[in-house]
């Protein structure tokens, strides 16, 4: 019997699901390899049948989301988070740093009709996650490698190395050394192909924290390049602001000192 997979969306931009929808003919091959029982955007609508692998996009930000992710966890063999929103809250987790209720009251004429938690949170805050795929967005190769490994019954090897290593393998020129750009590469997880340095610009950490990131040392280097402490902080508090290492470094720099 073919393994069953499901793709579930929460609060997000839809971009990580595109890692499936942009597969081209490989999408047809994937459909031969597994049975896709739920993937609303692709037209598969059976949300209640148990699946072997659940791919989750988006952060959890309503009471209904919280109930739904628990139901999905209950009927899934392995649960994989796809991308920055599901793994670390995503850009909308910036609301966690502010008074979200006050914002909602400002934005809506009738905020009481909304179902909204105060925070936008990673999936792992509510249920157990078997595999986290970082990146904003995740890339199709990452995703297919995960599907293949999980079908063999193993988890793919963790990829936590720093972007600098990938940047060197790509033979890109270091933008921090040559142009004085405040590049987040030294604290950011690899996986994107080092596209920003290859385009001559600083990495903005869309793949989240790498293993043992040193936010203090990098922030001091940025200060040396002329950044103010709050400008340093904003580089940590961006797409993966709810990831522990970035949250901690960001808040430290936001308070004005290291």
């Amino acid at each position: 019997m073919k393994a069953r997979i499901g793709v579930y969306k929460f609060s997000s931009c839809d971009g990580c699901q595109l890692a499936f929808l942009n597969l081209g003919e490989t999408l047809l091959a994937l459909d031969e390899l597994v049975e896709i029982s739920y993937f609303a955007e692709a037209g598969m609508m059976d949300e209640d049948t148990p699946v072997d692998i659940a791919f989750v996009e988006g952060s959890i930000s309503t009471a209904a989301d919280r109930e739904r992710i628990r139901r999905i966890r209950d009927h899934s063999g392995r649960l994989v988070t796809m991308g920055a929103c599901a793994t670390a809250g995503g850009l909308q987790a910036l609301r966690n740093l502010a008074d979200a209720s006050a914002w909602l009251a400002d934005v809506y004429a009738t905020p009481e009709v909304l179902d909204s938690l105060d925070q936008a949170l990673p999936v792992a805050e509510f249920v157990e996650v078997d595999l986290e795929l970082w990146g904003c967005p995740v890339d199709s190769r990452q995703l297919l490698a995960a599907v293949r490994s999980l079908l063999f019954g193993v988890l793919p090897p963790p990829q936590r190395e720093k972007l600098c290593l990938e940047c060197k393998r790509q033979q890109a020129v270091c933008v921090m050394v040559t142009k004085g750009e405040p590049c987040m590469g030294p604290v950011t997880r690899s996986g994107c192909g080092a596209i920003c340095p290859r385009f001559g610009r600083a990495c903005y950490a869309c793949y989240g924290p790498a293993e043992s990131p040193n936010g203090s040392a990098l922030g001091r280097r940025f200060e040396g390049l002329g950044l103010l402490p709050e400008q340093v902080a904003r580089r940590f508090l961006f797409i993966n602001s709810h990831a522990d290492a970035f949250l901690e470094a960001g808040q430290r720099w936001m308070s004005g000192h290291d």
Partner: protein
């Protein structure tokens, strides 16, 4: 038709749309009642996040509003910010941006036609099911989608949340060999795009006309992408800066996305509205093919939207070829910008229609306020109006499953992007 045919239809999650929304309506005494296209994705409050950020952070932030049309968000934003700074990046950057945008239209339209809309008209639930009966058409569509993605990646490094665009131009422009290779692929795709237009025109769609107001950008001599004045089929002709004096957004209780109206009425944005208003801006070769389909544009049949998307794919392939054959200069990739205080407006044609931005900046280039109006919130009132008349015409005596499928088909035809629609909320305090 029986007067006792009273039913309530609920579609908790719409299939084959971008993002998650639902539909609810009741049929009572031969009338559609309580119709609600409900968008319940939580708001992501992007306009608040932008406050206090520096101008150069904006393109990477606004891209995250939508994974399917990040280029549109980046383009409306950089145009608005360049207006504040009084910067013109030059004719060659203008062409590279047009090419970048062509990639997004091709990608987004090909995705919608093949993965989301066409299964409705071929009788399948999904593209993978449709591929068994239409293998050639699906492969052709997926190849065009990949071509669009590769154009974006050429200028942006990757197709979802590309990293190439910046205020002032691009971080990097491609190498000459990369451009040549892409040009060859585009030339080979021309015939595929033409065949796609003919195929879409041959699919059986409901023949039903309705009156609606089309709104799109209009440019003196181009099919509109990045620039133009705001025009409508009812004679509107205003500068993008005057948008707020004519268009209004309002909250409805069942949706986290705002609705919009033009002079108090619903209106249509997107491919059909654009084509209806800009037929005379198509190159002759594309225009001939449109005429050959036998469909008389401007069309009042909303179901001609799919053909309009296919025509725009062909247009973008032709436009991309034209740009690459002209070989625009590869440097400078960007012009320097000097921040200053002010208000700037940007309005470009996202694949789904008008995407309007306004930013207020402080002297150091920090964002003080932002307002973003995406296409889907503009189309919401139109979709609901369409549903009411379409379901009535379809026949309310039909059974629940038929009504439900027809309602979903009507909605999908607009290509609503719920991710976009829920990520902007205008700040308006009512106490």
């Amino acid at each position: 038709m029986t007067e006792s045919h009273n039913i309530r239809i609920q579609v908790p999650v719409l299939a084959r749309v971008e993002g998650e929304g639902g539909l609810e309506f009741a049929v009572r005494d031969g009338q559609v009642e309580e119709l609600r296209l409900s968008i319940y994705e939580p708001p992501r409050l992007f306009e608040k996040f932008l406050e206090g950020r520096e101008y150069h952070e904006v393109p990477d932030m606004v891209a995250r509003i939508c994974g399917i049309c990040p280029v549109a968000y980046q383009m409306s934003a950089v145009h608005a910010l360049e207006q504040v700074f009084g910067v013109d990046p030059g004719a060659h950057i203008r062409l590279w941006r047009r090419l970048f945008y062509c990639g997004e239209w091709i990608q987004s339209h090909a995705l919608h036609i093949h993965l989301l809309a066409a299964p409705d008209f071929t009788g399948f639930d999904s593209v993978t099911a449709m591929a068994r009966e239409y293998p050639h058409e699906v492969r052709r569509g997926l190849a065009l989608q990949a071509l669009g993605n590769d154009i974006i990646a050429l200028l942006g490094g990757r197709s979802v949340h590309p990293v190439g665009a910046c205020v002032g131009g691009f971080h990097r422009l491609p190498a000459l060999e990369e451009c040549r290779a892409l040009l060859e692929r585009l030339q080979a795709a021309r015939e595929q795009a033409q065949a796609l237009v003919r195929w879409c025109a041959s699919l059986p769609v409901p023949q039903r006309e309705q009156s609606f107001c089309s709104v799109a950008l209009r440019h003196p001599d181009e099919y509109p992408l990045n620039e133009g004045r705001l025009a409508s089929s009812e004679g509107l002709d205003i500068a993008i800066e005057d948008y707020e004096q004519h268009f209004e957004e309002f909250q409805v209780p069942y949706s986290t996305a705002l609705h919009a109206s033009l002079h108090g009425q619903d209106y249509l944005v997107g491919p059909l509205a654009r084509l209806n208003l800009n037929l005379d801006r198509l190159p002759a070769s594309v225009r001939r093919l449109v005429d050959d389909t036998g469909i008389a544009f401007p069309s009042a049949n909303m179901f001609h939207s799919m053909v309009a998307r296919a025509v725009e794919i062909l247009y973008c392939v032709e436009e991309a070829i034209r740009i690459l054959e002209r070989q625009p200069p590869l440097e400078p990739a960007a012009v320097p910008v000097l921040p200053r205080a002010g208000t700037g407006y940007g309005c470009t044609e996202a694949p789904r229609g008008l995407l309007w931005h306004r930013y207020v900046l402080a002297a150091d280039g920090t964002i003080e306020a932002a307002r973003i109006v995406p296409p889907t919130s503009q189309n919401q009132a139109r979709i609901e109006a369409d549903l009411r008349t379409s379901l009535q015409d379809f026949g309310l005596e039909r059974d629940e499953a038929e009504l439900r499928l027809h309602a979903e088909t009507v909605i999908r035809n607009y290509d609503p992007c719920i991710s976009c629609a829920t990520h902007f909320l205008r700040l308006r305090v009512r106490r």
